[in-house]
């Protein structure tokens, strides 16, 4: 066996001819970021790019709020407003929420289950490249004939009517459908990768019921992604065919059924909501026990509630369609299932409260964000239950009440969890702490800004202000609350700015973190900060849930915590006894080559340029062919029994 360094300098086996793209050798320097297959580097790429898209989507939101700050706003034209609210939603769901989960999952899942990498390091990188190219592809529409403007849900027949009929004259919907199909391919690949990693690569003793809750939630959302992406992909293909090849899938005049689109979209769309929020729940379930110095209250029931949410999430999609006239039986059934899903969600909230109850609580920045998550997610959850009551929902449909509801869940919930996760794992990823005082300022500004923006929207909704309408006349009684919301949105912007300043400031100060700065409980804190490329010098052997805690603490006769004398677990591990024993996958160009073919194919489809399409297909095939028989670890002399990723 050879080390990584040896592996890269060894001459290729004689059977292998020099190819056009010689295998990349470097694992350091900026170039290594292009070819890396290290799950930790890929996670940082995912996180960084999602953060950029978060800022872009946020700027779009600020423009929306400026436009609505007062009646008869003139900041944006109606067409530009449509593009901005469509791209705000599309960005936050597909280019922030999902890739941010991939960022956390990529970094943490292998570390938490005691593995050295994911099952398919190159597919992992492929997922990132598809996300990057897909996001840039959709955004390139601003320069290439009009951005998507049919809403993030892209309802047919508005989105599917051919361009020459003039309802949506730009190429926006084409960029939207092709771009989302592309992102869907990447999401499924990433989901398969997470599933195989979690099912197949747990360290000895890491049984399913010893896995950290975050890993459990990644497992659940990987299943949801696996089964939610195909329905939307098929719906998007139909929309694209309708718009460009005169099919009739959603053309009512020829017998097509626009409602079919809504079903296919929301069969994806509702599980998607849980794909977005469950990682946030996982993050919070990791933070709360550490900062309360207590184990998670009712671990098993939290896990099973997460699974139950995953299952029930498939049976509630039509509550997005109560206003479309499904008939009383269907509507009652979906109303009931929607009420039912509140039970496992409520169970989780009480378990989190039970975790904090009576704990030795430390109110550091990650804990504040986690507590903010619980409070605000509960508000969003309760307004969600209001939507399960059909007559009430019919009243609220397409008003700002709905906007308030899902921002409480996804911003007040998910975004707060993500920021908490940043503050919690930043020391592990970059080796230095984020400044806690600035973190607290960040938190309180975000709480004030968030609630100032979205709480008034509940009332605006009750007073009948419709969503997705670019302006409103004077004298509707909406002026003051809209102004309040706009002011709040700029407080949010300020909070995000404080975070960015904190990142730069803390990187300059570099307060070293040590392996275990928070007195953590899970395996990622047993290795140094940042972890070595191989994660663990020796694969850990797991004997408990909260393994690290049990290595550090025991209980005396009265049940009080006693620190074990050695404390070895908190120190950086020694170098591996035999570094020659560690096999790591080698960097590769092929994921980049393959995924670079996809946007080329995409432009070919959007502009119906078959030459461009052929070039894209050739590029993708060239990438696949090179990939298929490149061994995951170079050279392939031994110990790699045909892993085929």
């Amino acid at each position: 066996m050879t080390t990584v360094e040896d592996a890269q300098s060894v001459v290729r086996p004689p059977a292998r001819r020099a190819s056009l793209l010689e295998r990349p050798k470097t694992t350091t320097g900026w170039f290594s970021w292009i070819t890396t297959v290290d799950h930790k580097k890929i996670a940082i790429l995912y996180g960084g790019l999602s953060l950029v898209f978060f800022l872009v989507g946020g700027i779009e939101a600020l423009f929306i709020r400026l436009q609505l700050a007062q009646p008869d706003g003139t900041v944006l034209t109606a067409a530009r407003y449509n593009e901005f609210f469509t791209m705000h939603g599309t960005t936050m769901v597909f280019l922030v929420g999902m890739p941010m989960a991939a960022a956390f999952g990529n970094y943490l899942v292998p570390l938490m289950i005691g593995a050295r990498d994911v099952a398919f390091p190159r597919i992992n990188m492929l997922g990132f490249w598809i996300f990057a190219f897909g996001g840039l592809f959709i955004y390139s529409s601003f320069a290439l004939g009009g951005a998507p403007d049919a809403g993030w849900f892209g309802y047919a027949p508005l989105s599917s009517t051919p361009m020459n009929l003039g309802y949506l004259p730009g190429r926006g919907p084409d960029f939207w459908t092709v771009g989302l199909i592309m992102l869907g391919i990447g999401s499924v690949a990433t989901a398969v990768n997470f599933l195989v990693t979690i099912i197949n690569m747990r360290a000895p003793g890491m049984s399913f019921m010893r896995m950290p809750v975050f890993v459990w939630m990644m497992l659940v959302i990987a299943f949801l992604t696996l089964f939610a992406m195909p329905p939307i992909t098929s719906a998007l293909i139909m929309v694209f065919m309708d718009r460009n090849f005169q099919t009739n899938f959603f053309n009512a005049a020829a017998g097509g059924d626009p409602l079919m689109y809504q079903h296919l979209f929301w069969i994806f769309g509702h599980p998607e909501v849980y794909i977005l929020i469950l990682p946030g729940m996982g993050i919070v379930s990791e933070i709360l026990p550490v900062f309360s110095r207590k184990p998670l209250f009712g671990y098993a029931i939290v896990v099973f509630s997460g699974i139950a949410i995953g299952f029930l999430g498939w049976g509630v999609w039509a509550h997005h369609m109560f206003a479309s006239g499904l008939g009383p039986v269907a509507v009652s059934a979906f109303g009931l299932t929607t009420m039912l899903i509140a039970i496992p969600t409520g169970v989780k909230i009480f378990n989190w409260l039970g975790t904090v109850w009576g704990g030795a609580v430390r109110l550091a920045a990650p804990m504040l964000f986690a507590l903010g998550f619980i409070a605000q997610f509960t508000i969003g959850g309760l307004s969600g239950v209001m939507h399960s009551i059909v007559p009430s929902d019919t009243q609220q449909t397409d008003t700002y009440f709905v906007v308030a509801h899902f921002h409480y869940v996804l911003f007040g919930g998910l975004i707060f969890a993500i920021f908490g996760g940043f503050y919690y794992w930043w020391p592990k990823v970059f080796g230095h702490m984020l400044n806690d005082r600035m973190g607290k300022i960040n938190f309180w500004l975000l709480v004030v800004g968030f609630n100032l923006t979205f709480f008034p929207m509940h009332f605006l909704g009750f007073e009948g202000q419709p969503r997705r309408t670019y302006t409103y006349p004077e004298g509707m009684g909406w002026d003051f609350l809209n102004l309040l919301a706009t002011i709040g949105s700029f407080v949010i912007a300020l909070a995000v700015l404080v975070f960015l300043v904190n990142v730069v400031f803390s990187a300059k100060r570099r307060v070293p973190a040590g392996a275990d700065p928070w007195d953590g409980r899970t395996l990622e804190w047993t290795t140094s900060s940042p972890p070595p490329e191989y994660n663990f010098a020796e694969i850990p052997i797991v004997t408990h849930r909260d393994e690290l805690w049990h290595r550090k603490y025991t209980e005396d006769d009265e049940g009080r915590l006693v620190r074990l004398p050695s404390g070895a677990a908190t120190e950086a591990p020694e170098a591996p006894a035999d570094p020659h024993g560690i096999h790591l996958p080698s960097p590769s160009y092929w994921p980049l080559v393959f995924s670079a073919g996809l946007p080329v194919m995409g432009y070919g489809f959007v502009f119906k340029n078959w030459w461009l399409l052929a070039v894209g297909i050739t590029l993708a095939l060239f990438g696949l062919n090179g990939w298929a028989f490149e061994p995951s670890t170079a050279p392939d002399a031994h110990a790699d029994g045909g892993s085929h990723s």
């Binding site: 099912i199 089964f227 899938f249 020829a254 079919m260 296919l264 085929h644």
Partner: protein
């Protein structure tokens, strides 16, 4: 458990043909597990299109636009090409059995045979499409044209990808770069190939065998 020992970084014993799943928690290799998961996702993809086909079936009677399916179908012809596609699953199994025995000559024969069967099926589909088109069935003609071309076309695209995949395997085998230890590469391509065949059984039944209401 041997899986635990192996995952702990232990040296892998050298078998004649190593088991690709030796160092995983489940005993199923990563690649095979991934393919099964991917196929489960694909099932929903085809499921959505087959559902759409059934939902829109017979709607043309309501709107009386253009011809009905029965005016086009040449069921004996399509049955023959379908039979050939199903037989390709047999040759696929024989290819896998050959590489597991270390018989690389027969591996290449059966891989090529599978490709040929697939190509015959695709040629039949191309013939069928052009024939229907000439007789006046276009994507835009009616709901049947829309759903038929898109559903069978997507299936055809899957078969084409399978053919390219098998040809790559065949080419690598010709270069002696598909040794016996890598038999799982053939097995996983086979899983995909069988899946595409099984999907065709459903599509063939749905479109050709279940008579439309009119």
């Amino acid at each position: 458990m041997s899986a635990i020992v192996a995952a702990g970084g232990g040296e892998v014993a050298h078998h004649e043909i190593p088991d690709p799943g030796h160092d995983t928690n489940t005993g199923v290799s990563h690649a095979k597990l991934a393919m099964w998961l991917f196929l489960s996702s694909e099932s929903l993809f085809f499921g959505a299109f087959i559902t759409t086909y059934f939902l829109y079936r017979g709607r043309d009677t309501q709107y009386l636009k253009g011809p009905t399916p029965s005016e086009f179908f040449n069921i004996p012809f399509t049955s023959v090409t379908s039979f050939i596609l199903l037989m390709s699953s047999l040759s696929m199994v024989l290819a896998l059995a050959a590489i597991q025995r270390g018989d690389h000559r027969r591996l290449r024969i059966w891989l090529l045979a599978t490709c040929m069967f697939g190509i015959i099926f695709i040629s039949g589909q191309v013939y069928e499409f052009t024939e229907f088109y000439r007789e006046g069935l276009q994507l835009s003609t009616n709901m049947f044209g829309t759903t038929f071309y898109v559903l069978t076309g997507l299936h055809g695209a899957h078969v084409t990808i399978g053919i390219i995949w098998l040809l790559i395997l065949w080419g690598r085998s010709m270069q002696d770069r598909l040794p016996t230890e890598r038999y799982e590469s053939v097995e996983i391509a086979g899983l995909y190939w069988h899946f595409v065949d099984i999907v065709w059984i459903f599509i063939f039944t749905a479109i050709y065998l279940i008579p439309a209401t009119k």
